[in-house]
């Protein structure tokens, strides 16, 4: 198998059963991969380059260690983008007010065996402009950083101690003073956050934005038909689906709406 810096860890593990132990031997940090949950979580989203960063080794160490297992280095892949620069805390974060910080400790979630990605994404969505998300984790969440960078976030990682990493996600140019005027644009009921917390970990998510009418409505109603007891449905929609609201009433579902922009509306639908 040909590999390079961009090859995902999952591909290595899939190709050769011994790849796991070989990788663990490269750096102690990779012991985490023995945990099946973490493996599932990390391996598919982490490339060799990212993993090197996490483990504090060079990609070449990977190639060398993996060679006996039949992995060949493929140097035709071209230059690899710089992953993540260690940096000083940006001024933006230094001047941050406490009340603009939304912290989320995912260590417990991972320990319980849950994938925190969805909860993190929910947190991200619920951020008001000017707010900063702080993820507390036991490793540097490189895949998450890549993911959120694509959504326009900047990240700053601080290693508190050997097992604690604090990662700040923020959007520059959003100052606290703009919060109030943006709150008017991003509108929702007062208890949106509350409801979201109430259903935390009991949320099924669907995205109907790409569908042409009447498919969004049908998709949502079908999803509600199979919604397990006590769970809530989290819908990404292009608009407030006025006619759906009547159907929800008839079926005795309650709902909350959060309108982020003209093309971005979230609905939380639950049995009343």
């Amino acid at each position: 198998m040909l590999i390079n810096e961009k090859t995902k860890i999952a591909a290595l593990l899939k190709y050769h059963p011994d790849a796991l132990e070989t990788i663990v031997s490269i750096a102690p940090d990779f012991k985490k991969l023995r945990n099946p949950i973490l493996r599932k979580l990390m391996a598919g989203r982490t490339s060799i380059a990212m993993a090197s960063k996490i483990g504090g080794v060079r990609p070449e160490d990977f190639f060398k260690a993996l060679k006996p297992l039949g992995f060949e280095y493929d140097d035709t892949g071209g230059p690899v983008e710089e992953i993540f620069e260690e940096s000083f805390m940006p001024d933006y974060l230094k001047n941050l007010d406490e009340d603009r910080l939304v912290s989320f400790d995912v260590r417990e979630l991972i320990a319980r065996g849950d994938d925190p990605l969805r909860s993190i994404q929910d947190k991200v969505k619920s951020l008001s402009p000017g707010q900063v998300l702080l993820i507390i984790n036991s490793f540097e969440p490189v895949p998450l950083i890549k993911l959120l960078e694509r959504q326009g976030f900047k990240a700053y990682v601080k290693q508190v101690d050997g097992d604690t990493y604090e990662t700040y996600f923020y959007k520059e140019g959003e100052s606290g003073s703009r919060i109030s005027e943006n709150d008017a644009a991003i509108s929702t009921s007062g208890d949106w956050e509350e409801m979201l917390t109430q259903f935390e970990n009991r949320i099924e998510e669907i995205d109907v934005r790409h569908l042409e009418a009447p498919m969004p409505m049908i998709t949502i109603l079908e999803a509600l038909d199979s919604l397990p007891e006590g769970k809530a449905l989290y819908v990404h929609h292009k608009r407030i689906p006025v006619f759906l609201l009547g159907e929800l009433n008839e079926r005795r579902f309650g709902y909350r709406i959060k309108e982020v922009s003209e093309n971005m509306v979230y609905l939380l639908i639950f049995k009343e």
Partner: protein, 425 residues
């Protein structure tokens, strides 16, 4: 009639653009039924009779066309997944047609063929021209034009053809443009409007909205394109037959009738796989109007085969009545109470819906009044039809009175929606 459906908030045309059309249409409906009630004597006369022309144009332009113009300004952006090119053009369309229609109708009623009628026709044409420009500029700016959008685009062109031809006919009263007198071209003018504009538009938009309101997954793009081809071909054949050889007219009926049957089948399929099992009153009225679509053909076939002499003016009247007061009115009665509450709801409750406690669009009007309106309508239409056939003045008066009652209830109920004040949530 064809509001936005479940779709369309983000590209929504401002309600200020749409509502004037709705209001104008409801006033026209009242005026049309009132005039019908006062002049039931028209049934005894030739159809080319001043009050008949006046009522026909109130109903076709003031009622049918105005509400479709309003609704299509709202719906087109949804179908092309874009924006209406210009709100200002839409407002100007309203301004010109709003002035032109009463002038034209008044001109017909007193039958002075001079400047009043001509100015009216000219203003209507200006309005329609701006509408067509707006449709084209919107549609061709967007990447997406599905079959429904093509129905609207084509229908708008037929509308322009209808009004342009109408203007020429009005001028032809005084100055000879055409070889024959205007009466000879009336049938072409009427069918450009009825088939090209109304039928194409109703099918194009109805095929989208009916499945949507029934919550049905059913789509069949191929069938819709077939209908599109059949109806357009039929209309062109009709125009050619009129120019070349009138006895070939029946060739036009076949494709158009086939198109309508295919459309009926399309709606039935959508109905059969619907998710919403309980069909509400407004949808019943709309589905009724699909069956209604076949009624004019019964009359038409009667007039072609049963009465080949064609010397029965009241058969022509029956034909026109069953289209304007039958099919078109039925579909508008149903669709108004699906779409108007939606538009007003968006204006009043949009932001209040976040909490999950906002009233529903259907709570904005009285269901009971709607029900009585439909009763009055079915009674009025049926009795008036029998009145035309029997030429019985009493039946005509009773039928027209019930239709007037329909219009009064319609205006009251739409007013209730329009003046709706937000409830405290």
């Amino acid at each position: 009639m064809f509001g936005p459906g479940i779709v369309g908030l983000q590209q929504t045309t401002n309600y200020r653009v749409v509502l004037p059309f709705y209001i104008y249409a409801s006033v026209s409906f009242l005026a049309g039924t009132l005039l019908l009630f006062l002049r039931t004597d028209i049934a005894n006369d030739h159809y080319f009779y001043p009050p008949t022309l006046a009522i026909t144009h109130i109903m076709a332009l003031g009622w049918g066309t105005m509400i479709i113009l309003g609704a299509s300004h709202q719906l087109l952006p949804v179908l092309i997944e874009g924006k209406l090119y210009s709100n200002r053009l839409a407002i100007m369309t309203f301004g010109f047609t709003c002035l032109g229609i009463p002038l034209l109708v008044f001109g017909f009623y007193i039958f002075r063929t001079g400047w009043i009628m001509q100015l009216g026709a000219l203003l209507v044409n200006l309005g329609v021209l701006l509408y067509v420009s707006n449709v084209f500029l919107s549609a061709f700016k967007s990447e997406k034009r599905n079959v429904h959008a093509w129905f609207i685009i084509t229908a708008s062109l037929w509308l322009l053809a209808t009004t342009t031809f109408g203007l020429l006919l009005v001028i032809n009263f005084d100055h000879t443009i055409f070889p024959k007198e205007s009466l000879a071209y009336l049938s072409v003018h009427a069918h450009l409007g009825l088939v090209g504009w109304f039928l194409l538009l109703v099918i194009g938009v109805g095929s989208r909205l009916i499945p949507m309101f029934l919550i049905s997954k059913y789509t069949n793009e191929k069938a819709l394109w077939t209908i599109y081809g059949l109806v357009n071909a039929g209309l062109i054949v009709f125009i050619l037959a009129r120019m070349v050889n009138r006895s070939l007219e029946f060739l036009a009926i076949i494709p158009i009738l086939t198109g309508i049957v295919v459309f009926g089948h399309h709606c039935f399929k959508a109905y059969a796989v619907r998710i919403r099992k309980a069909v509400d009153e407004q949808m019943k009225a709309s589905l009724l109007s699909i069956i209604h679509m076949l009624l004019p053909f019964v009359v038409l076939i009667m007039s072609l085969w049963v009465l080949p002499s064609g010397g029965q003016p009241n058969l022509v009247l029956l034909y026109g009545f069953s289209i304007l007061f039958g099919w078109i009115t039925a579909i508008i009665l149903g669709m108004t109470f699906k779409t108007l509450p939606f538009i007003v709801w968006n204006k009043v409750y949009h932001k209040k819906a976040y909490t999950g406690k906002a009233p529903l669009p259907k709570d904005l009007f009285s269901e009971k009044m709607y029900h009585y309106m439909l009763m009055a309508y079915i009674l009025g239409f049926g009795v008036f039809v029998i009145g035309i056939i029997l030429l019985n003045q009493w039946l005509l008066k009773i039928g027209a009175a019930a239709l007037l009652m329909t219009a009064i209830l319609y205006v009251l109920n739409t007013t209730k929606i329009l003046i709706h004040k937000p409830r405290k949530i």
